[in-house]
């Protein structure tokens, strides 16, 4: 090959490279690998006395049709473009609007339902307990319906999507909850079981939206991971919207107050509407503006995983040294449970944002530290809780807390064990992912049990 030929060839390869790199599921290192292949092929053809031009054309042809190739990459690396995959191919990008009118319709549905419920309840003047108990049922059915619509579920899919919501509505409103033991909730006194139902029902319903989200399947582990990813990104968007909404409301209040507008009344109308509508809007943002958060997610986990690891390690060491029994009261137990849930969320989210083919790195070690510390804390909490139950017997709160702790303990123990094996190179990252995605139903089942089985077990106290 002479110099001019080489130059032309280099330009051709560069152009080919740029073209391949445009495929969303093919990342830079894949293009490197494909380019190395292309060059090997060209070199061999060149040795067989083809001209540079011919060699290039033959090599590119052998590489295969780029659409098919990028689809094949997409199937393997669904994490890189889960959005396009979940939406069922190219039709999403074909819709220039990104589907916002339909998202808006469902958001309006949720907002109106919330507002109607508020007016019936007379909130905030009156704060009946049924309002709190049903709050998830005012909003999340619209989210589920939005996904059922977006994924074009058939009639059977729609029916199966509706079943958990109908059952939940039935259970929550038919159960004769007692007057209660004096727990304050929404300025009315509710029974412990009722409060637990109010706390667990949104979780159950969130898992119920996984069914339409995953396009009417539940088995696929890849789709489950997508749902985890969606949940994490949804939280980020929701918090962002809430912050923006808070600023907006504050400024509106400041501007309207001097002219004598009743700001409280404005807030009463705007806040529930916004909070309900934002649930669907955030979901739509995750669906359509994927790339923005895609860049943010690894950064966020990169920042918060080490911080949580440090915090948890300090907490675990301190509690282990100072002894746990004295310090623990009911409130602290709640905080510990919350920390554990956040750690699990962080681990799951970091996992969903990670490129599975990368070898173990520093971040994986930091994450293992966080998990191990959380595990140590969990064991301590569990010991105290068991002692408490031994002394005072079972109450609805203790059963719910104990169950949550056990569920978390098993999960974290499995995760710690598998990460250790992964870090020492004895297992693939895939196994860790599998453990978490296989475990997701356990959370759903536990939350459902608290809603359905706990109240009758304790006579709706």
């Amino acid at each position: 090959m002479d110099r001019v030929e080489t130059q032309v060839l280099e330009t051709q390869i560069a152009e080919w490279r740029a073209y391949v790199a445009k495929a969303p599921a093919v990342d830079g290192r894949d293009v490197d690998e494909l380019e190395a292949h292309l060059r090997d092929q060209i070199a061999e053809l060149d040795a067989a006395h083809l001209t540079a031009d011919e060699a290039f054309l033959v090599a590119v042809k052998r590489m295969g049709d780029l659409d098919t190739l990028s689809r094949e990459f997409a199937r393997e690396h669904s994490g890189r473009l889960w959005k396009q995959l979940v939406l069922g191919g190219d039709d999403a990008s074909a819709r220039p609007s990104g589907g916002w009118p339909e998202a808006l319709a469902f958001a309006l549905g949720a907002a109106v339902t919330m507002q109607v419920a508020r007016l019936i309840a007379g909130f905030p003047g009156e704060q009946p307990a049924w309002l709190g108990r049903n709050i998830g049922l005012f909003v999340l059915p619209f989210l589920a319906a939005y996904f059922a619509h977006r994924r074009r579920l058939d009639l059977r899919g729609w029916a199966l999507t509706a079943v958990p919501f109908a059952l939940a509505a039935l259970v929550v409103n038919v159960y004769p909850f007692g007057a209660g033991s004096g727990t304050e909730f929404l300025a009315s006194t509710v029974s412990d079981t009722e409060l637990l139902v109010a706390l667990h029902l949104p979780v159950v319903l969130w898992f119920a939206t996984a069914y339409p989200y995953m396009g009417g399947t539940l088995r696929s582990h890849e789709r489950r991971m997508d749902f985890v990813r969606f949940t994490g990104e949804w939280v980020i968007y929701y918090v962002l919207i809430a912050l923006g909404g808070g600023v907006l409301l504050g400024l509106t209040g400041a501007i309207l107050e001097p002219i004598g507008v009743d700001v409280e009344a404005v807030v009463e109308w705007v806040l529930p509407t916004g909070a309900a509508g934002a649930v669907i809007v955030a979901a739509w943002l995750v669906e359509s503006k994927q790339r923005v958060v895609e860049n943010m997610a690894p950064v966020l986990t990169m920042i918060f995983t080490p911080l949580f690891a440090v915090m948890l390690t300090i907490a675990a060491v301190t509690y282990a040294l100072s002894g746990v029994t004295g310090a623990f009261d009911r409130e602290l137990l709640g905080i510990f449970d919350a920390i554990m849930v956040v750690v699990l969320g962080l681990v799951l989210y970091a996992m969903s944002a990670r490129e599975p083919s990368l070898p173990p790195g520093l971040m994986d070690r930091v994450q293992l530290l966080a998990v191990a510390s959380a595990l140590a804390l969990d064991v301590m909490v569990l010991v105290v809780m068991l002692a408490r139950i031994g002394d005072l017997g079972f109450t609805p709160n203790r059963v719910a807390a104990l169950g949550l702790n056990l569920v978390l303990l098993v999960n974290l123990a499995g995760a710690a064990w598998l990460s250790t094996r992964f870090l020492s190179g004895r297992t693939a990252f895939h196994r860790l992912e599998r453990w978490q995605t296989s475990y997701l139903p356990v959370f759903a089942v536990w939350a459902a049990l608290v809603v359905v089985a706990l109240p009758p077990m304790f006579g709706f106290r």
Binding site: R29, D30, D32, E33, L34, A36, H37, R39, D40, Q41, R62, M63, G64, D65, L66, T68, L69, E72, F73, R75, E76, H77, P356, S357, P359, T427, A428, F429, H430, R431
Partner: protein
């Protein structure tokens, strides 16, 4: 002879694992070996090998690293793991069973006589 697409796809994983069991290799060399082994009968679209290799990596069957050999360009090498060898052994059992069953039925006398002749 053009080998059916599904058959090519089904044999791809055991073939690649078996080639890697011979020793570490990289994409282009693996494809050359496939052509050599099948005397050119198994035609793969070159690019399709890479998603397959990445899948094997995700499943923990192979590990991979970028290296530049003394003479030659930077390439991504693939090395089979113990899990990969176990998967290969399992695949081997399945293929041996299938080929044996096919072999038996094709050797059977009834196969050689066309229907209606017997």
């Amino acid at each position: 002879m053009r080998i059916d697409k599904d058959l090519v796809a089904a044999s791809a994983t055991p073939l690649v694992l078996a080639i890697l069991a011979e020793g570490e290799s990289y994409g282009y060399a693996i494809l050359k070996r496939v052509r050599e082994l099948s005397a050119g009968e198994l035609e793969w679209t070159d690019g399709m090998l890479y998603p397959l290799l990445h899948r094997l990596g995700r499943l923990g069957y192979v590990t991979t690293d970028w290296r530049t050999p003394p003479e030659g360009r930077r390439r991504r090498y693939y090395v089979i793991t113990d899990a990969g060898r176990a998967a290969l052994a399992e695949q081997q059992r399945q293929w041996v069973t299938v080929t044996r069953a096919l072999g038996d039925v094709w050797r059977a006398p009834a196969f050689l006589t066309a229907p209606g002749e017997a």
